[in-house]
C-alpha cells in the first residue's frame, strides 16, 4: 500500500485554516516554538472552525488562556469529523443552527444560544471534547500550573510536595519522617 497517499489526500482535502498569534505577555510565549500558529482543517471550513472556537471558549471560558490552547480542541473535532461521518454531520448541522453571527455575539448571548441546545448531541459532544482535550494539552499544563509527570525528575519529594507554609505543620506522630 502506498503510505504517502493518505498524506496527499489530506493536503488535497484541506478545506479550512485556523490561525492565531500567541500574545507576547502570555505564559505560552515561553513554551511555543513560534508565536504565529496555523492549524489545517480537513472537514471544517475556516468559518466553521471560527464558530467552533467561540463554542469552545464559551463552554470553558478562560480569558487569559490563548486561542492556541483551544485550537487543540478544534483540531480534535475536525479529526473526528474527518474520520466519522456522523460526527461530521452533527457538527456541521449544529454550527448551522448556531448561525454565522455566533462568534461575533457577546458572551451572554452565546451562553443563551448554547443553553437552548444544551441537551443536543452536538452540544454534549462539543462539551466533552472541549473538556477532554483542552485540559490535557501542554499549553493548559503551563497555564494552570500543573506540573504533571514527576518520575523523571525524582518525584516531588524534594520539589515541593510539602512546601505549604500558610498552615501549621503536622506533628510527626500523625505523619512520618522524610525518607532520606
Amino acid at each position: 500500500m502506498d503510505k504517502a497517499l493518505p498524506r496527499r489526500e489530506f493536503l488535497r482535502a484541506t478545506t479550512g485554516l485556523l490561525t492565531g498569534v500567541v500574545v507576547a505577555a502570555s505564559p505560552l510565549a515561553l513554551i511555543v516554538p513560534q508565536r504565529a500558529w496555523a492549524v489545517e482543517m480537513t472537514a471544517l471550513t475556516t468559518a466553521e472552525a471560527a464558530t467552533l472556537m467561540a463554542v469552545a471558549r464559551t463552554i470553558a471560558p478562560h480569558d487569559k488562556l490563548d486561542d492556541a490552547a483551544y485550537a487543540f480542541v478544534i483540531k480534535a473535532v475536525d479529526e473526528e469529523a474527518t474520520r466519522d461521518e456522523h460526527t461530521r454531520k452533527i457538527t456541521k448541522e449544529g454550527l448551522i443552527g448556531l448561525g454565522a453571527g455566533f462568534s461575533k455575539n457577546n458572551e451572554d448571548d452565546r451562553v443563551a444560544a448554547l443553553k437552548k441546545i444544551e441537551h443536543s448531541e452536538f452540544f454534549q459532544t462539543m462539551r466533552l471534547k472541549t473538556l477532554q482535550v483542552l485540559y490535557a494539552s501542554p499549553v493548559a499544563y503551563a497555564y494552570f500550573g500543573y506540573e504533571g509527570e514527576a518520575f523523571s525528575k525524582g518525584g516531588y519529594v524534594l520539589r515541593g510536595f510539602n512546601d505549604l507554609r500558610w498552615l501549621p505543620d503536622v506533628p510527626l506522630e500523625d505523619s512520618g519522617p522524610l525518607p532520606m
Binding site: 518520575f151 516531588y156 501549621p168 512520618g176
Partner: protein
C-alpha cells in the same frame, strides 16, 4: 524466560513452566489482582501447580505511561458494560459504571493503596444495625479474631504504613489542609493513613518519592502491586504458568457436578480448554459473577454455584464522592501520594447521625486532565471554569463509607449487548438505599465544615465517580440460602470451585476492600493447600 523474584528479593531470569492442557492436577486461578495474584503465590510457594489466566497484558515499571489519558487506556477494563438504577453513576458515567483494571496485577496496578481494617462490629452488620427495610444484610460467617490473624500477615507482606515498623508517610500539602481543618472541627483520628506504600525501602522495593500519579501505575514500585511482588514471587517457585491476554469464558463441570476445567480465549483469540483439579475465580465482582452466570448448564440452569439465586446479587460499591475546597493560597494538591491522609472518627456506628454504619474521609486529588471529566459536577461556562482557574488552590477529599446490600442491586447478563466473543456483557443495576443517601449527605456536610473552618473561599461537592470497590456478588454466608460461598470462599454448591476476590465480602464495611481481599486470599491459600494435602478435591 521471565524475570522472577526469589526469597531474598533478588531478581533473576528463569524458565517458567507451561502446563499441559490436559493436566488435571493444576489449580486454575482466574484473575491476577489482589485476590488472584496473592492466591497464586500462596499456592505455588506450597508446591502446587497453578495456571493463572489474566485477560489483560503485562506491563512493567518501564512501560507504565505517565500521560493520564494514555495510562487510563493502558490499564483500564474498557470492555462494554451496561447499567441502570437511581445511582448518580448511571447518569454521569453511563458507559463506565465501574473503574477497575485489565492488566497483570489487576486493580492493584492503579489502586491508591489504602489499607484500613474492617472493625469487629462491621462483620456483624445485620446484628448491629438491626433489620433494615429494603436491605439484604447478613452477618459474616467468620469471626473478627480470625480475620485479624490474616490482617497481620497481609500488612507485613504488603508493607503497610503505621503498622509493624513501617513509619507513616510524610505530610503533603493537601494533607496539611485536611489536617488543619479536621483538627479545627474537633476530629482526633487524623493521620497520613495505613497505605501499602513504602515510606522506606522494603521488600526489595524503593520508597515513595511523592510522584502523585498513583493511579497511573507507580513507576518506582513503592506501592504494593501483585504485578511486581506476588506474581514474580510465584514465578520464582517454578510452579506458575501465567497466561496473559487469556479471557475465561466458561467453567466446565463433570457428571458428578464438580468443576473439571476452564474454557478460555487465548492471546490469539483461539478457544482453549484447560483441565484442573480446582478452579478459583478472582475477576473482580462484575466479571466473577458474569463468569458464573455464563457457565450455566442443564445441571446448573441458573449458573454455576447459584442454587441460592444469590450470584450477582447484593452488589456493593461503597459510598463515595469528591469534596473540593478552594482557598486563596496555593495547595498544589497533585504533588504527593494521592491518598496519603485519612480522618477515621466517623468510621463508627452511631445511629444518632441518622444512618447506620460508618465512613472514612480520605485525602484525594486528580491530575489536571482528569479533574473536569471525573471530579467536578456536570457543568460548563463561567462557574465551571472558575473552579478550574483555581486548580493550584484546590484541596480534595473523598468519602469512603459502607453501603447497604440490596437483593436487586445486582449483576446480570445483558442479552442485548455482546462482547467480541459474542457473549452477553455484565449489566449493573444500583438503586441507592435511603441509608446510603443519608450517609453521603452527612459526609459532605462534615467535609464542607472542615474546609470552611480554615477559610475555604468555596466548597464544591463533586459527583460519585465510577465504582472502584466492587464487592458482594458471591458473598460468604453461614446459611447456603443467603450467599454463594462458605467462610473459606468455597462455593456452597461445588466443593472444588472457589471465589477469591472482593465478591466474597459479606458486607463492605467502611474500609477500602483490598487489605481484606488479600487477607482472605492468604487464608484461602492455606486452606486449599491443607485440603489438597489431605486428599480432598
Amino acid at each position: 524466560m521471565v524475570l522472577c523474584r526469589c526469597e531474598n528479593n533478588a531478581w533473576f531470569q528463569k524458565d517458567v513452566p507451561i502446563f499441559d492442557f490436559k493436566d488435571e492436577s493444576v489449580v486454575i486461578v482466574i484473575g491476577s489482582g489482589a485476590g488472584g495474584g496473592t492466591l497464586a503465590h500462596e499456592l505455588t510457594r506450597r508446591g502446587i501447580k497453578v495456571v493463572l489466566l489474566e485477560a489483560g497484558k503485562r506491563q512493567s515499571l518501564e512501560t507504565f505511561s505517565q500521560v493520564p489519558g494514555e495510562a487510563f487506556t493502558q490499564l483500564t477494563w474498557l470492555d462494554a458494560r451496561t447499567q441502570s438504577g437511581t445511582w448518580g453513576v448511571a447518569r454521569d458515567f453511563p458507559t463506565l459504571p465501574v473503574w477497575h483494571c485489565k492488566t497483570v496485577g489487576g486493580t492493584t496496578v492503579h489502586w491508591t493503596a489504602s489499607c484500613p481494617r474492617l472493625q469487629a462490629w462491621e462483620l456483624h452488620a445485620k446484628t448491629t444495625y438491626g433489620g433494615m427495610a429494603g436491605s439484604s444484610l447478613i452477618d459474616w460467617p467468620i469471626s473478627h479474631e480470625e480475620l485479624e490473624k490474616y490482617y497481620v500477615i497481609a500488612e507485613r507482606r504488603m508493607g503497610v504504613t503505621r503498622r509493624n515498623d513501617m513509619p507513616g508517610l510524610p505530610a503533603s500539602n493537601n494533607f496539611k489542609v485536611m489536617y488543619a481543618g479536621a483538627k479545627k472541627v474537633g476530629y482526633k483520628q487524623v493521620h497520613t493513613g495505613h497505605l501499602a506504600i513504602n515510606s522506606r525501602s522494603y521488600d526489595g522495593r524503593g520508597f515513595c518519592i511523592q510522584q502523585g500519579l498513583c493511579v497511573q501505575g507507580c513507576k518506582i514500585g513503592a506501592k504494593w502491586s501483585t504485578l511486581y511482588t506476588e506474581i514474580p514471587d510465584a514465578e520464582g517457585t517454578g510452579n506458575l504458568d501465567l497466561r496473559t491476554e487469556s479471557t475465561a469464558t466458561r467453567i466446565e463441570h463433570g457428571p458428578n457436578g464438580r468443576v473439571t476445567g476452564v474454557i478460555y480465549r487465548d492471546n490469539r483469540g483461539q478457544e482453549q480448554r484447560q483441565k484442573a483439579r480446582i478452579v478459583c475465580v478472582a475477576g473482580n465482582a462484575l466479571e466473577t459473577a458474569r463468569l458464573l452466570l455464563l457457565s450455566d448448564s442443564p445441571r446448573f440452569p441458573q449458573g454455576l454455584a447459584n442454587s441460592s439465586g444469590q450470584v450477582g446479587r447484593n452488589y456493593c460499591h461503597q459510598i463515595t464522592g469528591f469534596v473540593w475546597g478552594i482557598f486563596d493560597k496555593p495547595v498544589y494538591s497533585w504533588r504527593g501520594a494521592t491518598l496519603a491522609g485519612v480522618i477515621e472518627d466517623e468510621a463508627i456506628h452511631d445511629p444518632r447521625r441518622g444512618f447506620a454504619g460508618g465512613y472514612r474521609m480520605e485525602l484525594v486529588t486528580l491530575d489536571l486532565p482528569t479533574l473536569p471529566l471525573v471530579g467536578l459536577p456536570y457543568g460548563w461556562g463561567r462557574d465551571f471554569s472558575s473552579i478550574m482557574e483555581n486548580y493550584r488552590n484546590l484541596a480534595g477529599m473523598f468519602i469512603n463509607g459502607e453501603d447497604i446490600p440490596r437483593a436487586d442491586n445486582r449483576i446480570t447478563l445483558d442479552e442485548k449487548v455482546k462482547d467480541r466473543f459474542g457473549l452477553p456483557v455484565a449489566h449493573v443495576h444500583v438503586d441507592e438505599h435511603p441509608n446510603d443517601l443519608a450517609m453521603r449527605r452527612h459526609a459532605q456536610g462534615q467535609m464542607s465544615k472542615i474546609y470552611e473552618a480554615i477559610g475555604a473561599k468555596r466548597v464544591v461537592i463533586g459527583p460519585i465517580p465510577p465504582a472502584t470497590h466492587n464487592v458482594g456478588t458471591a458473598r460468604m454466608s453461614a446459611d447456603p440460602r443467603d450467599g454463594v460461598t462458605n467462610g473459606w470462599g468455597q462455593t456452597h454448591d461445588i466443593a472444588n470451585l472457589f471465589i477469591s476476590d472482593g465478591s466474597v465480602l459479606t458486607t463492605p464495611g467502611s474500609a477500602n476492600p483490598t487489605l481484606t481481599i488479600v487477607a482472605l486470599a492468604l487464608r484461602q491459600g492455606e486452606y486449599i493447600a491443607q485440603k489438597m494435602k489431605a486428599g480432598s478435591f
